[in-house]
Symmetry: C2
Subunit: 112 residues, 2 copies
DNA sequence: TTGATATACCTTGCGGTTCAAGGTATATTC
DNA sequence: GAATATACCTTGAACCGCAAGGTATATCAA
């Protein structure tokens, strides 16, 4: 069951990842928890979302990574490249536009 | 080209259609223009988006329609059912949640 | 009268993306 | 020695927005 394709989520994982990684270097598992916290528990993304997006962002040059061994485990830390910062700005302004448009439509007069 | 899967649009057509039709009965072609206007030109949806969504909303009982002949042409007017109003409320609150979560994340401290 | 533009409906196919579920392996705690 | 937490990962399905293309009538201009 578990209704798939929840509304309003397209592009959101990418925006949030870029935003958080713009503030500090982080690894995947950490990002899963950070996103919950940073959105005030409003949005929760599983690892099945996070990892593929991280990989595709690295592939297209928006992120770079470095491996770091910590207490016997390996972490892969990601950070933004110049291209990633540009991508973040673009997504940010896209978001503002859409969000503003929807607000306008929702706030319209209660009745004709 | 024309990058497909534009970010932040999933669920948006459905929300906007339900919102506008909650205010007044309208037909498809009219909705295309109304959406542009209601969102302050921020969002523009083509007929290839509108009609399929109208049909699927009618199929699942959120909308009802009636045909009306006007100046030799036929218009199909849509309006909300009770189920449609419930659906609108649900989508509206989903939107508020996501929108709020993203705002919180974006407004976070500029730097550590 | 013929051609372009606006109105009004519609479908098909592509492509991208989120998500649940499942999989591996090590460290820690009970 | 068993469960839990950490940390990485992939696969497959489902969904859905969009561009492009298709039909037909009314209107207006040349």
């Amino acid at each position: 069951m578990a209704q798939s394709n929840p509304p309003f989520m397209s592009g959101v994982p990418e925006l949030l990842l870029l935003r958080l990684l713009d503030q500090s270097e982080m690894y995947g598992y950490e990002l899963v928890r950070s996103i919950r916290k940073a959105t005030g528990e409003a949005i929760s993304l599983g690892e099945g979302v996070i990892y593929p997006v991280l990989h595709s962002l690295e592939r297209n040059g928006s992120l770079k990574s470095r491996r770091k061994a910590v207490a016997g485990r390996t972490r892969v830390y990601y950070s933004l490249t110049g291209k990633g910062r540009q991508r973040l700005q673009k997504l940010h302004s896209d978001w503002q536009r859409i969000q503003g448009g929807i607000s306008t439509a929702l706030e319209a007069p209660i009745h004709a």
